[in-house]
Amino acid sequence: MSVLDELVAGALADQRERETKLSLTQLQQQVRNMTSTPLDATRWLKQPDCIPIIAEIKRASPSKGHLADIDDPAALASQYQSGGASAISVLTERHRFLGSFDDLDAVRQAVQIPVLNKDFIVTPYQIWEARAHGADVVLLIVAALDDAKLRELLDLAHSLGLNALVETHTREEIDRAIAAGARIIGINARNLKDLSVDVTKYKALAANLPENVIRVAESGVFGIKELEMYARAGADAVLVGEGVATASDHELAVKRLVEGGKVVKESESQPLSTHDGPYFGQYGGRYVPEALVHALDELESVYRQAKADPEFHQEFARLCKQYVGRPSSLTEAPRFAKLISDKVSAPVRVFLKREDLNHTGAHKINNALGQGLLVKRMGKHRVIAETGAGQHGVATATVCALLGLKCRIYMGQFDARRQALNVARMRMLGAEVVEVTQGTRILKDAINEALRDWVTNVEDTHYLLGTVAGPHPFPTMVRDFQKIIGEEAKEQLHDDYGIEHPDAVIACVGGGSNAIGIMNAFLDDDRVRLYAYEAGGNGPESGDHAIRLTEGTGQLGVFQGAKSYLLENAEGQTLDTYSISAGLDYASVGPEHAWLKDIGRVHYDYATDKEAMSAFLDLSRSEGIIPALESSHAVAGAYKAAQDLIDKGVENPVLVVNISGRGDKDVATAGKWFGFLTDEQSKALDANGAHGNSVDGE
């Protein structure tokens, strides 16, 4: 005899005994005399913005034995309800679960949300009984019932205004439940070896269920971790027993789960182009010292006010036009397109979005300007920023000069040496440049030092982060300041060239701000394929690269304020990165990109140093436009994207490539790479520290 058989037999014997005291007819009469009607639990158990929690009054179970005493189930149920539970599950099985109908009565009196009667129900009498005790939902276990019985009990429950949670363990049981007319299906996807949650199994079981069926994840939900796993796997509601019953603070335990469910729902909300942080899927968040929380809250609130203030938008637009020189051109590149067309043996049109024509030579100024205006609104007067090779530092120093703000730029010593001219440029603009001698002395160390400064001087200082990475609200805010790139491109393509939409939008991705900037306007347009190219350095096998998003290189991790993909070793220590372009040379990537990768909206790939340099020369010579080394990765990507489009059967594809910055700053590096400089000239440039390259921070 299996445990289930044993439990069913026990429950049946108990029911028979109760029936000797109260006949079915008497019970039915009792129910007919009831004035209250059951609550329709389906209205509680599926919500657009949260994962409803069914919290269980659970004293013991056969697999775990005694769990909690629960002297006052009504009080416990009230605590669950206060914590935000959507329903209460009450066990009435007495032998192994130590439940009773007294528990059910007490809980029914105590709460105004649906109550589930959990027992081993195999007879109509038990359904009438559940109704008589005020339950709104009954449990039916498919494994304990044949098809006819299941349908009979389900029909009876429905006819009494009750819902049934139909518990299943296998796909076959699920099919039987659906055939019987189940509206709420409980899916038990526990790994039988260690009782852990097996989300893969859950996904397989829950796949292809009819839309109107509510999916309740019914096993192994202990706390927030399992809740999130189930929620992300598509569960509508979860049932939690010991995780709430044995907690020291029951209300708080339920509340945590409810909040966690909301986060998951919010983090997956659509449309993509207006999706705001803190979470992009499981990525993002605020992994920062508590000391920064106040500043981040303040920033978020000031940003929100500014966003709703037409005057802010007017001021931003005015400066974009009169100071930055926006809109930046959208230039058709027919001679470069010919190079690609020859390569892929099909006609391709290419348009270049010319962020290189902005004041200071890159897209970085858009964000620096936007945040600079926010600094004024916050009443702060000191700005700090990180920079890798200097472009974001220069943009920030420029905006601080424009707005009369005190400015300090952190720059890794290694970067500062090879970018001496940019260091001088920032100083000319009135900024203080601090060389960071800690760590590996590159971009990430500059960010660490900027964060330390911010923690110390947060009261009067704003950290003007240069990319869509870092803690919330930076990824969202920087995206909003950069999305003008794509909005312009879309309009220019339509108005100037009469093209309804591009077939592909292509950008390079370091932290990811230029890529998000040009892609945002197209995220919700399925006709447009999106391609982003990381720094391949010497290739993925070499270990010298900054490929975070390609399979097998980056890991899910927490770095400099956000959860995202990260290059780290097995111990969780950050790995050194390498790229010829310092702007793409960063160990992590903005959380929105991590999400866009996961949901498959953006295709991420990489271009190696060699490919980028070859593309650099191609564009320079075919169009007379020298792109930044960062942007050269997008140019190299254009060849790959074109091939992909042709392979997918797109005819005469139209490509928009984001030229995020100009290559003047990279002339020394490129000159050396191509041998355009004599050894003496190259050495002289090295000695001068002029071997700079790159739009940093990206």
Partner: protein
Amino acid sequence: MNDTHNTFESSAAATSDVRHTQPLGFTNAPSKTATRLQELADNNSPAFIGYLPYGFPNKEYSLKAFETLVKHGVDIVEIGLPYSDPVMDGPVIQAASHIALDNGERIAGVFDAVETVAKAGGVPLIMSYWNLIFRYGVERFARDFSNAGGAGLITPDLIPDEAGEWIEASERYGLDRVFLVSPDSTAERLAIVANNARGFVYAASRMGVTGERTTISSSPELLVERTRQAGADHVCVGIGVSTPEQGSKVGSYADGVIVGSALVHQLLDGTGRHVKPEEQGLADLAQTTHDLAEAIHGARG
């Protein structure tokens, strides 16, 4: 029902096998750290909480250093896990972390330090940046840490809002969760931290990163008071506390005094970048620990 499933498909014998792989609900075990803080408070004494990075300057040396701390008066030991990007630490601890990593520090070995501290009679806490724990596996870390006799985790870059998985794991294994508050934390933030902390709340004496300071402002006393009002049972003060005088002053109102850089400093030479010979380092560490312990434990007269 879901609990019967494993038994009605597999044999009943599997049930007992399964038990130890998933803990039985929340443990509800008393907090080790809070228990020690209470014992000390009953004797009208604040706790001396001492920090050193694990593996600094190397594994063996650091184990001896932890033992030295406990022997000379540290009640609760904050075992730091060296990290490549420690944003809450000043130059001394950054340098120590670097030395440890360069000398091959590995997380798996930290549990030896935990055992060493527990065996010596100290309460072992680990201080770690979140990515290290995240990478190790939160549940796995909680299990291994708990098995080694660990008391809890101090998380400088994990706020309660992001700590769901850790809260769950720490509840399962009965581990303490030490979150930080800072002088500019709002009442709302203090309440969030106090509600989610277990063991004690770590009050930063000032805005900024770890490191020694010649003076301590009066703000920590106010912060301790505000944090208690927000619901925290125990509040300990750290960041910038380095001398016996400061320890005594802070100990007069806080439940515990946390000293880090000043202890780390004892193992570094004058340059701050190189390590002292072991014998001298440990002797200096013992002396400094002793002086601090005397001042802190005697803070309330």
